[in-house]
Symmetry: C2
Subunit: 842 residues, 2 copies
């Protein structure tokens, strides 16, 4: 529903990547006008379904009509069912994923083909190599620029924000969808170290949003906001599932990456849609005779009988810790690049003017360094990301020659076995170069994800560790008299899961890798590596998505972190803002306008009974209020006023001339309304006075009209309009805004904000508004408490609080009555209910 489409995106400051340039005022007015227009012509879908609901409406119709209506009703009920929506969503996403993969493969093969066919001229080869990448990236960046700049980046940070309940309207439009799909295909086709999974989460949500808009033609259940968010939440699971054919991992990753809270009743939605989509994605691959049957995407063939020795667990743990450090470093590096570009004014201005220059420069740099006959030969650049991954998961040990096995699957290990340098150098170079390249590449203003790049780097890092282990224990590990060789591929698996988990702060990468490789025998080593990597990374840096949210200055809610117990002792009154913008029931339009023009950018405003009593009646959306004001002062009424003015002038002349011959009362209704009505309705004995005033007004009007200065007049009219009391009758008022009391703890507040996806809550005391907590305040309170890292220090806001409450009391949610009562009595507002109080006591 349109009124939800709020101006929150307008508050996000103008950044280079994602342009939030719309002016708040202009946007709000536009929005308000649209809303008003809509309310003018009643919403058709609602009306239709209303007529369906109401059997009386169709009483006069014939039986056939009735039958058809019933059919339609049934159809609507069917389409309203979630599972149809989810299956459709799954099918669409499977198709899109497959189609995009097809396109990307085509691009990559084209690059390879051109490169191969120019084998006898290195310079031409280089030119072709670089040009291919530059052209595709430029197209991608330009297309995104042109169609929808919201398609830039991974999309997971934005989805996280949207699933938190914040409406970022432009992120879920059809234009963004087209921009994202086309640009992503070309960006990935360029061979840059970019990923597909993050944008795919966004694409799935876009798909769900569009589908639900389409389905809302049949039934209006799709217009319910709660349901809409539940569907988006399911869609974000589909994104990953259709990308990796990993339904379980997709669901879990989407829960971890995009949500802070998860309703178990949404669980099945995610699983259903994700399974359908993964299935369809793989069926398409089989149908295309790419594969014989449905198997894992990056199938591994490790031994299941003796996958690893217990002693190797230690090596996996070390790998996990190292991956964690690497992951934190990656997030840090990425933020550093972002901030460098943004904070250096010269660079910023330079690139702002030449928007396509930055991606072109980055692409040239990266593709030059990865040019296979050049430096790229030392880092396996002739392989695509997919081929690299397959080679890392290889069963054989590269550092040990002659361990050929009898499997006949594509062997990409040649890329790593350079004649001059050994495999450790190539792998090390790959990790180092790809590390900064990926961190740099994902800053380009094209749709791109960071999951696959970190996944590949992690796999290479793990492979390196595995090869080192294999070199260290060339004969494998002795156990119970038998010797078991070390499998470096398993380390690659663990490293991939650990690094991608560390960067995204998720544990479910472990599940994703099991589904990707089709093997689960390394369950425990991988779990250990992923958990340790998470522990390490989370203690140093926020996740890449949270880092992006901070960079893009999206409204976010930081996590509470691990075991900071002082959070249980901070109360709402310590961090709430007491300076709440509100409107009262008896305010006039001027007050309303002042409030709306004030700097406060909250989505909704509190409605109080009066500024004295401060009794909270409800909250009204800002857009609604904009609409009310613009209706009062808008063009139609202004025109009407001018028309009436002109008519009044004409009438005035006729009245003056025919005053004796015609009755005054007949004309009265046609006269200028806003002032005359008051005068007119008075008693007949004031008629002469009234006529005098009428005359003077009409004279003034004609004068001003003749003087052709309607501006002054309009201003006057506006002034008079602004002094009228606001008519809230057409306003939708939310009668149950979320309320907290002063004593609610920070922990509980955070939980409620996460759980209920709030962006603000009013703090009331016995019905009276005393403050407000918005995401901003909560952020500040949490960040404040997080900065104090030591164990059991004084609670961060202790200075604001009395000594007694800052002591660590266990019964945190209870207080003593007299304190409560004192507070109630000492409330700053004048308590004048004494008569009734005494009444009550009697």
């Amino acid at each position: 529903n349109a009124s939800d489409g709020c101006c929150l995106e307008a508050l996000v400051p103008c950044t280079m990547y994602g342009h939030y340039t719309q002016d708040l005022g202009a946007y709000a007015k536009e929005e308000a006008a649209r809303l008003r227009e809509k309310s003018g012509r009643r919403p058709s879908a609602t009306e239709r379904s209303l007529s369906l609901e109401n059997p009386d409406y169709d009483n006069g119709r014939c039986g056939k009509c009735c039958c058809m209506l019933r059919c339609k009703k049934f159809l609507i009920a069917c389409v309203g069912e979630d599972w149809i929506f989810l299956i459709l969503l799954g099918l669409f996403m499977g198709l899109i994923s497959w189609g995009m993969d097809y396109g990307i493969d085509y691009c990559l093969h084209a690059q390879k083909w051109v490169y191969m066919s120019l084998e006898n001229n290195v310079f031409l080869q280089y030119l072709a190599w670089v040009t291919h990448a530059v052209v595709l990236i430029t197209f991608s960046a330009g297309f995104t620029q042109l169609l929808g700049s919201h398609a830039v980046g991974s999309g997971i940070p934005e989805m996280k924000t949207i699933l938190r309940g914040v409406v970022l309207k432009e992120y879920l439009t059809c234009k963004t969808f087209v921009a994202k799909v086309v640009s992503l295909t070309s960006a990935l086709g360029s061979g840059m170290p970019l990923g597909k999974e993050g944008p795919f989460v966004h694409i799935a949500c876009l798909c769900a949003a569009m589908l639900s808009r389409f389905m809302s033609v049949f039934g209006n259940v799709y217009q319910n906001k709660t349901r809409y968010i539940e569907m988006l939440s399911a869609a974000s699971a589909v994104g990953l599932a259709s990308c990796f054919a990993a339904p379980i991992g997709g669901v879990l990753f989407s829960i971890e990456a995009t949500g802070t809270v998860f309703l178990v009743r949404n669980y099945w939605r995610g699983f259903l849609a994700a399974t359908i989509s993964a299935l369809f994605f793989r069926i398409l691959a089989v149908w295309d005779t790419e594969e014989e049957t449905i198997t894992a995407l990056f199938k591994t063939r490790f031994s299941t009988d003796f996958p690893f020795d217990l002693k190797e667990l230690l090596a996996f743990a070390v790998l996990g810790i190292a991956s964690g450090i690497l992951g934190a470093l990656f997030v840090y590096l990425n933020r550093l690049i972002f901030e460098f570009i943004r904070n250096q004014n010269f660079i910023k201005n330079f690139f702002m003017k030449r928007r396509l220059l930055y991606p072109v420069l980055v692409t040239i740099l990266i593709s030059t360094l990865t040019f296979p006959p050049g430096f790229g030969q030392f880092m396996g650049s002739q392989l695509t990301q997919k081929e690299s991954l397959l080679s890392f998961f290889d069963n054989r040990t590269w550092s040990k020659p002659g361990t050929a096995e009898d499997y006949d699957y594509p062997d990409f290990s040649y890329a790593w076995k350079h004649p001059q340098v050994n495999v450790f150098v190539t792998l090390g170079l790959f990790v180092f170069m790809k590390f900064w390249m990926s961190a740099l590449a994902i800053t380009m203003p094209v749709p791109c994800g960071s999951f696959i790049p970190t996944f590949v780097i992690g796999a290479a890092f793990g492979r390196l560790a595995g090869e080192c282990m294999a070199a260290w224990f060339p004969d494998g590990i002795y156990s119970d008299g038998t010797v078991y060789p070390i499998v470096p591929g398993a380390y690659a698996v663990a490293g991939a899961a650990a690094l991608s988990g560390a960067v995204s702060h998720t544990v479910s990468t472990a599940v994703i890798i099991f589904e990707l490789t089709g093997q689960i025998s390394y369950l425990l080593p991988v779990m250990i590596a992923v958990i340790l990597a998470n522990v390490v990374a989370q203690s140093f840096q926020p996740s890449l998505y949270d880092s992006m949210i901070k960079i893009k200055k999206l409204p976010y809610l930081p996590e509470l972190g691990w075991g900071h117990n002082e959070k249980y002792n901070i109360r709402v009154k310590d961090f709430m803002t007491r300076d709440v913008t509100y409107i009262t029931l008896n305010c006039c339009y001027r007050d309303l306008q002042d409030v709306l023009q004030a700097g406060d950018h909250l989505k909704t405003l509190a409605l109080l009974k009066s500024s004295q009593s401060r009794i909270l009646l409800g909250s009204i959306e800002r857009v609604e209020l904009q609409a009310v004001v613009s209706q009062q002062l808008g063009r139609p009424r202004r025109l009407e006023y001018l028309r009436e003015r002109a008519a009044a002038k004409r009438k005035r002349q006729s009245v003056v001339s025919h005053l004796s011959s015609e009755g005054i009362s007949q004309k009265a209704t046609l006269e200028v309304r806003f002032q005359v009505n008051q005068v007119w309705s008075s008693t007949p004995r004031r008629t002469s006075l009234c006529l005098q005033r009428l005359h003077s007004i009409a004279m003034a009007a004609s004068l001003s009209l003749h003087d052709s200065s309607p501006r002054l007049q309009i201003e006057e009219w506006e002034e008079s309009q602004l002094d009228e009391p606001v008519d809230f009758d057409n306003c939708k008022i939310e009668p149950a805004p979320f309320q907290l009391v002063e004593h609610t703890s920070l922990h509980k507040t955070h939980t409620m904000f996460s759980l209920l996806r709030l962006d603000h809550a009013y703090v009331t005391s016995i019905g009276r508004l005393i403050g407000m907590v918005s995401l901003k305040e909560l952020q500040k309170a949490i960040d404040g408490s997080l900065e104090v890292k030591g164990a059991k220090v004084r609670p961060p806001m202790a200075s604001l609080r009395d000594v007694r409450s800052s002591s660590c009391n266990i019964e945190i949610e209870a207080t003593e009555l007299h304190k409560l009562w004192d507070q109630y009595n000492s409330r700053s507002l004048p308590r004048k209910h004494l008569p009734s109080d005494s009444d009550e006591k009697s």
Copy 2:
């Protein structure tokens, strides 16, 4: 904290399985006395930590002491960290699981050994077979009876209730822990078709509760209720993980089975503890040289290169649907047995008197039927559950002879290849017999789960389906010119996951089976089967756990079900109860007692400013109020009164005799206080009057004492005490009870109740209490709306609502102002604030 330990378990009616026999009144009084006693001697842990917090306290100490204190502080901070707790929990549970498995294996081998060694006498064999089972089950039932009847059953329903926020205190005691562990070991050792996983969830939670009680010696963070529940939630994941060595599946299953909502910030807790526990569990197995290295529990060896053909997906789908029907049937059958026993008065009384008879009879019946040389030979009874599972997951096709493979792992297929009947009959018999046996066995009053039995039945059912497929396509399925044989073991895997998923209404059984078998190549078929089984089962029956919750009449919150859109249109005012029990600030003890003795069994009571204004000040726990009343009327004060009475009598006599010789004022303080004080403090000129009254009182006292009728006197005293106004000063008042407004929708209410784990919420309008919603009302509202199954019928409670609001309006959370305002004005309570109102308007 003890005050949470509420009397909710006392309200659950007396059932045969789990004895909730404690009388509410008695229990509450006991509890109140305990509480009061506690508040007498200040809680030591808190005090100690307070002294640690406050540096001034230790100013006078020496430096060494300071250092030690700092060390202690650091230690406490460390122990307060979650990860230490979680690692300890994981280790403990791994150890317990391994130990129990050891014990169970021992018992089962003993049975087999005795049975084998008596090979030449069938009757003795039979006797040994049955006796073994009967003895162990009897011991298990008896031990449970003796130590803690709360250990009966699976424990998941109770944990679900506890994690919903309801305090069932007796379920998490040390006694219950011992009872559960010992009884479960012996029950499973008997060879009955019982499971280990459900009780293990309970055991893990018991372990966590005990551990957190132990850890609270070091720091009081463990006494925080929110944290406690978060820890329990992690523990329930550990239960399954340590049981199956399936950390991911365990976490997911615990989320699905025990929660309605899930905080992502708890995710890592579950994963950490579950991984540690699974790891330790498997390491112990390796250390015991049972295994060579860590591998899956029920390792399968299916081909990964071509696991299944696309056409087989259809067969898997059919298997899923059939499993769903079977699962629903299982839940229904189980409930039928329960209800039959409970509702037939004769049977109920018979078994209530002879508590051990029922398990003995059931055991004899089942073990007779499964006696291997008897009927058991047709259903593979010589195998344990574990061996059966291994045989079902076998690679080979039983119905096709001569497909020997070169793997050398234990072959249990001999049990199914009976010389007289073919494999279809044995499998079919097994499924049919085990089906009702399992449904019957889990009704025995011993600790037992239903997961493994349904898992085994599902595997057998799947195997049957697979063998049928293999018989139908004896040469396998042609695809691309190659023939691929059908693997019945894969169907067994899918069947196991599907049936257990259908019974427990979870999707994560798919993950569990991947972790159990160590193979994930059948990802999509298994997912499809599980999802379809869930869809079918959920449309027919509640989950087994919900069914148990209903049977045990635990307070629960039903799920909203799929896509019932009318839920968005039911408001709080339609289902709230307007008849709220409350206390007012100026009430006397008599009112309090009346309220407490009334039939309403809610945990907390609303505190209003006065019954006229109905302004909600907060809520007080029932236990607190019990304490206040019992303090006022309790034994100490009564004794004091009697003592004073007696003293007064003596003094009275001495006063009368020595009135002239001694000053009256010296004695005054020793006199009867409650009446005399008033009199005494009056002016000296009323002394004579006073003395007369004193005399008469003392006379009456001595008279009544001599007449040995203090009862009458005490009653009189009590009456006078009851008329005093309540002193709430020592009462802990929760100043922020959760509040809803009338317009909150059922959907939102349900979400909030699930999310915030509420058991009641007050409905207020501008600070005034107008109603209440408790779990009961919510249950009724949901059940009411669930009964109406058809598409888009009239909302269930439409008759209660005005026509306008029942029409399907989209903006469900908003209303028009004048309605709100009218409601505010027409509130039934007398609005006498006119002076202040006019004040506000001026």
